[in-house]
């Protein structure tokens, strides 16, 4: 079952007017080396924002950011926020990308959940003249991908997770397990690999990774996986979940079982969903970046690429509205392949001191 949700931008005309008032007539500049390209607003670009699946807060926030950028740029064609359901994520994503040329899209913005299985469809889209901009989660081999908008540096994610684990488990360390999303998720896999690399550092020698399990970004499955981890490993003191679905499911499981004193949860989560668990001590520390900004930046890059203002080559620089200037570089976290990256950042680590404010 594919659920296609189309959220037509409300008040397109209104937004267009607003954008025209706010942004003084900026003309597209030919890319001169060293000078950042600025977008020319008001051009018609049919854009598809394709998250891993619909129905969770982070992707909804990314859509908000993209809509914000769309309003600023005064694109008369409304943004299509479409996606499969969670259990059909891989096949559904491939279907959307395959059908993009028929839908006459000008650019696809993809948070890839299909590993390299998406490559043939993405390559076909590119051959049909549709750039494929990945965000949140890249295509591992970089094939069929124009460039990747990275929320944070993936190596840094591993480092941040290792540091949070140490800060929760203390200097004497302890055992922990990882509760990930799906085994195909390129971003989670990259973060976990980066964390394993970080753990080799003597500074983290007391942290013992027991095992990695997958909850497929489904609440119930993640919940059951968390309970299974607790039963399997009596000495485990921490569940690290680098996924917004897994982290709340694990925290809820611990809270229901009254185990928050003995076992903690950490990882990547949305402050609004984590507030209670941070306040009651189940999840003392977790991290994230702004998904709104990520959607906003992705829209800007994709708009520039689709209008030909940038070509998507190494060394190009551009201005992304309120976020400022960015540069396209080689992706250092995928050294083996020829992939390009725009790096957003930064990480915010949330704890009892700042979670309430961020939750809004």
């Amino acid at each position: 079952m594919n659920v296609k949700t189309r959220r037509w931008m409300t008040g397109v005309a209104c937004a267009g007017l607003l954008a025209a008032n706010m942004v003084p007539a900026v003309l597209a500049q030919t890319p001169v080396s060293g000078e950042a390209v600025t977008a020319e607003p008001g051009q018609e670009v049919k854009m598809m924002l394709l998250p891993k699946f619909l129905g969770i807060l982070p992707f909804d926030q990314a859509n908000q950011g993209a809509e914000e950028a769309a309003a600023e740029l005064g694109n008369p064609t409304p943004l299509d926020f479409v996606g499969p359901t969670a259990e059909n994520s891989v096949a559904g994503q491939i279907e959307f990308v395959t059908n993009a040329p028929a839908g006459e899209y000008d650019v696809i913005m993809l948070s890839n959940n299909s590993g390299d299985q998406i490559v043939p469809a993405a390559v076909a889209a590119q051959e049909a003249g549709i750039p494929v901009v990945t965000w949140d989660s890249p295509i591992p081999t970089g094939e069929g991908e124009s460039l990747f908008v990275a929320q944070v540096d993936f190596d840094e994610t591993g480092q941040v997770m290792a540091e949070m684990a140490r800060s929760i488990l203390g200097e004497d360390g302890g055992q922990f397990a990882i509760l990930s999303a799906s085994p195909d998720a390129a971003n989670q896999n990259a973060w976990i690999a980066a964390m394993e690399t970080a753990l080799e550092d003597p500074a983290f020698e007391n942290l013992e990774l027991l095992e990695i399990v997958y909850g497929d970004d489904q609440s119930e499955k993640s919940y059951e996986q968390a309970l299974a981890l607790i039963s399997k490993h009596p000495d485990m003191e921490l569940i690290m979940a680098p996924t917004s679905v897994g982290i709340v499911a694990a925290a809820q499981a611990l809270q229901n079982e009254g185990l928050c004193e003995e076992i903690k949860v950490s990882g990547l989560g949305v402050p609004a969903e984590m507030l209670e668990y941070t306040q009651n001590g189940c999840a003392p520390e977790f991290a994230l970046w702004s998904f709104v900004d990520l959607g906003y930046l992705t829209y800007y890059v994709s708009y520039l690429l689709a209008t030909g203002a940038i070509e998507g080559v190494e060394g190009e620089r551009f201005v992304a509205g309120r976020l400022g200037e960015y540069e396209i570089t080689k992706d250092p976290t995928r050294p083996d392949v020829d992939a390009l990256r725009v790096l957003m950042g930064p990480f915010t680590v949330y704890n009892i001191d700042n979670v309430e404010e961020a939750a809004g």
């Binding site: 619909l54 129905g55 095992e211 997958y214 919940y223 399997k232 809820q252």
Partner: protein
């Protein structure tokens, strides 16, 4: 054996077989997984049963009539999400009212299913496959991709999952499990003693004959779907309580688990045969398998689903083969008995003539 066969019908053996298989599995996993019978582990496992069990009871009623309700998972999800949203908007809502609302939502969706199947004459598998998708889309549209989060829910909800009715030697009977067992007992009583329950068997065995005999076939099928819907609504409330965070994918895939449990429990998919106890054992077997495979350290994440599928196949096949043998033996014993009886009456008749 012959004595046993004279006293018990083959269908009743099925429950013993299931029980034996379940106990066998428990012993196997107990040998594989350390601390398997640890009270805390057992408490967690039993709590996991409750939701599936409640949905399964409704499913049994529907399957008995030679129908199927595939939309249950979407009803659970929709009831959980809507009740959750209501509770976040009005945190003063009483627990009792919340349960009733969840059941009312399920009941309404069940009415739609019942109307389409019983009065519209659409095959149940098609109709509920349609509403399965339809109810899920309603949920996606209604939710606008937002999540119901625990932080917004009233505090009493947090206490329900660990609420315990009675504790015996550290083994809890949790409230949710208690509720599920009450539902099972009610279902059992309905099937065994109410005319409505007996009619469900008649309808499933031979719908044509049931109609000719003047049974209210349409009304009874409709009622079965309505009950299934209402129970799915109740399960939706339990889902909300247990998981706290409800996304639009809530309970997705539950329908297959429930149908598998009911079929493994010996409720014939072609209607007319099966019992509540069988369904209870079916749910128990499937859940124990699933939960134990998760906890089994010696096994990779990727082969677990395959093992689960294989074990379900083995369970059903073994059940069919053994039951087929038993039926033959039963028929043979009955034939022999009848022949003996006839011979006896013939002898008596002969004697009478002779006298």
């Amino acid at each position: 054996m012959t004595v046993l066969l004279r006293r018990i019908r083959p269908e009743q053996f099925r429950e013993f077989i299931l029980l034996a298989v379940t106990i066998g599995l428990l012993l196997f996993f107990a040998a594989q997984i350390p601390n398997y019978f640890d009270p805390r582990s057992v408490n967690r496992l039993t709590t996991g049963l409750a939701i599936t069990l409640v949905v399964a009871v409704g499913q049994v009623l529907v399957v008995l009539t030679r129908n199927i309700d595939l939309s249950v998972s979407s009803i659970v999800g929709l009831a959980a999400y809507m009740t959750g949203t209501l509770l976040t908007r009005d945190t003063t809502l009483s627990p009792f009212a919340a349960v009733l609302i969840a059941m009312a939502i399920g009941l309404t969706l069940g009415v739609v299913n019942g109307l389409i199947v019983a009065y519209g004459g659409v095959p149940a598998i098609i109709a509920t496959l349609g509403t399965l998708a339809l109810y899920r889309v309603i949920l996606v549209e209604f939710s606008g991709a937002k999540t119901v989060t625990t932080a917004d829910l009233p505090d009493w909800l947090n206490d329900v999952p660990s609420a315990t009715i009675v504790t015996i030697a550290e083994y809890d009977l949790r409230l949710m499990v208690g509720v599920a067992l009450v539902v099972v007992v009610l279902g059992l009583l309905i099937l065994r003693y109410l005319p409505f329950g007996r009619r469900l068997y008649a309808i499933g065995s031979n719908p044509e004959a049931a109609r000719n005999a003047g049974l209210p076939v349409k009304r009874d099928v409709f009622t079965a779907f309505v009950i299934s819907g209402a129970l799915s609504g109740l399960a939706g409330f339990m889902f909300l309580v247990r998981f706290g965070n409800i996304t639009v994918t809530a309970a997705q895939g539950l329908e297959l688990q429930v149908v598998a449990a009911v079929v493994v429990g010996g409720v014939a998919i072609f209607g007319g045969s099966g019992s509540m106890i069988g369904a209870l054992l079916g749910v128990l077997l499937i859940e124990i398998l699933q939960q134990s495979l998760l906890r089994w350290a010696g096994i990779s994440e990727f082969v677990k689903d395959a093992i689960l599928g294989l074990l379900i196949l083995v369970a059903v096949t073994a059940d069919t083969i053994i039951l087929g043998r038993l039926r033959e033996m039963w028929a043979r014993v009955r034939r022999r008995d009848r022949a003996a009886r006839q011979a006896l009456t013939a002898d008596e008749g002969g004697l009478a003539h002779g006298a």
